[in-house]
Amino acid sequence: MKILVTAKRVEDPESKIKVKPDGSGIVQEGLKYKINPFDEIGVEEGLRLVAKHQGEVVVVSIGGKEVQEQLRHALAMGAHRAVWVNHTGPLDQLGIAGLLQKVAEKEKPDMVILGKQSIDDDQNQVGQYLAEFLGWGQATFASKVESLESEQEKNKVPALVIGADGKTVRVIREVDNGLATLECQLPAIVTTDLRLNQPRYASLPGIMKAKSKPIEELTPDKLGVNVTPAIQVLKMSSPPARKAGIKVADVPALVEKLHNEAKVV
């Protein structure tokens, strides 16, 4: 089983994001970067699947030289190889999915696992674009039903189960008002929700090994994809700040405010 997993570089979710005064972007100074948390979950899921079914996990990231950091992180977790699509400058979903399509056609994986959304743009689109471009089935928002914090987490029903004939994957998805189960013919696209698994830490030997694992370099030109964006981010601004409220002394005071001032009860 070959699983291709995407690894986007994003700002650390703990970072304080500030808009530049001219609205042209965000203030970069002092920011730390990470692999998109959803993609880290994807790497973990890929590793668990190949541990069960043999095979390899290949990670792919699109961006400048710096995205190699995220690829090394995934390699240190245990991914076998990496593909780096070297491109600087803005890319939109059409461009990203177009590049991933070419990488998938080259690698011929049984499954591509992506994050459901990236925590910078929050677009939640790339996996679905890719599924359509490839003409594959899609199961978005894969999620585990049981607690992630419990001791027996590893033994419980996983959200991704490969069929006995190795030709399908059954996926539990988190949707509004409940859980949906789908069965996709392989190859298929799966996107991860946060509760799918808890990613492992990269071990020290893992980090050492990652240094010698191969990273293949590609470019949009080599892949023959025109990546001129069709989305223009014209301006960024800070959302209107909420006025800081007041602290009330006790419950009667709170109810008085809610009743007479805010008039919501």
Binding site: K116, A131, E149, L194, V233, S237, S238, G245, K247, V251
Partner: protein, 321 residues
């Protein structure tokens, strides 16, 4: 004249999702700004009844596409079915309320139409051919103004940012179309609904949410919610622990709510949580820690133990009746 097509969403029981009405409200705003006209679309196994309900909402036409293969929602079958209509109508804009279904479907439909897309749109700026979309990024820390330059422009709409369209505005023509049916590589297996007697989180007037501070004991949260006829919400910490269903998660990667009153008990106020509730009209925070970031967005805060405050609050509110 630009055509704005809003796709209505049916729940598994056949009823229309309430957020559809907000999406129609948004579609009207967009049609006005773009100088165009509003159309509504609905596909499924038997969507005629739901389509009938949409006649009075001011659209030029309601387009209905029925096929037995569309019984269970699948992105793979719904996308081609809707693509036929977008192409026949030559729609310029195609949008839908942001829900789990539209977030699965719309990008697949957009990809088929080679359209650029904006997720969770909160408003429109500009006019004519220069209409732009405003949407949140980085967990709502940034609002971006974006322009889509493809001939067809796709988007999902954050329902809480648009007033629901009101009925009684004449009767739109209901037109049927034949949706393209394609074989799907994906099979629907089942849907397990999480049933609740309480109102839906995204539609409730009041939401009572609990965080890790509850240590998993939601009895008081639920009791207060029932006193107020409110929905119950939760932080991700609580969902991850398996204390409550994931469906209740409010935030950047959960649901976005904007009720008249949001009560956060034992929630620290991480930016990812704030992203889902910051637009609430009135926010109440109950937290032991006076430095908890939630107090920076709360209109009213109480620094105290939630297990003491919640029963008292319930009793005190009971007195108002």
């Amino acid at each position: 004249m630009p055509i704005v097509l809003i796709i209505a969403e049916q729940q598994p029981d056949g009823n229309l999702r309430k957020a559809t009405y907000n999406a129609i409200g948004a579609g009207k705003q967009l049609a006005e700004k773009a100088g165009g006209e509003l159309h509504i679309a609905l596909v499924g196994k038997d969507p005629a009844k739901a389509a009938d309900e949409l006649k009075g909402y001011g659209a030029k036409a309601v387009h209905v596409g029925a096929a037995p293969e569309l019984e269970h929602y699948l992105a793979e079958t719904y996308a081609p079915a809707l693509a036929t209509l977008v192409q026949e109508l030559k729609a310029d804009y195609v949008g839908m309320a942001a829900t789990a279904q539209s977030k699965d479907l719309m990008p697949r439909l957009a990809a088929r139409l080679r359209a650029a897309m904006a997720t969770d749109v909160m408003g429109f700026n500009g006019s004519g051919a220069d209409v732009t979309f405003s949407r949140p990024m980085w967990a709502g820390n940034v609002f971006a103004e974006v322009k889509l330059t493809t001939p067809v422009k796709a988007f999902t709409l954050r329902a809480t940012e648009f007033p629901a369209a009101q009925g009684g505005q004449g009767a739109a023509e209901v037109k049927t179309f034949t949706p393209k049916v394609e074989a799907s590589k994906t099979k629907f297996i089942d849907f397990k609904e999480v049933k609740s007697a309480r109102p839906e989180l995204t539609e409730a007037r009041v939401v009572v949410s609990g965080g890790r501070g509850t240590k998993g004991d939601f009895k008081e949260i639920e009791a207060l919610a029932d006193e107020l006829g409110a929905a119950v919400g939760a932080s991700r910490a609580v969902c991850d622990a398996g204390w409550v269903p994931n469906d209740l998660q409010v935030g950047q990667t959960g649901k976005v709510v904007a009720p008249a009153l949001y009560i956060a008990a034992g929630i620290s106020g991480a930016i990812q949580h704030l992203a889902g509730m910051k637009s609430s009209k009135t926010i109440v925070a109950i937290n032991k820690d006076p430095e908890a970031p939630i107090f920076q967005v709360a209109d009213y805060g109480i620094v105290a133990d939630l297990f003491k405050v919640l029963p008292e609050l319930r009793a005190e509110l009971g007195k108002l009746k």
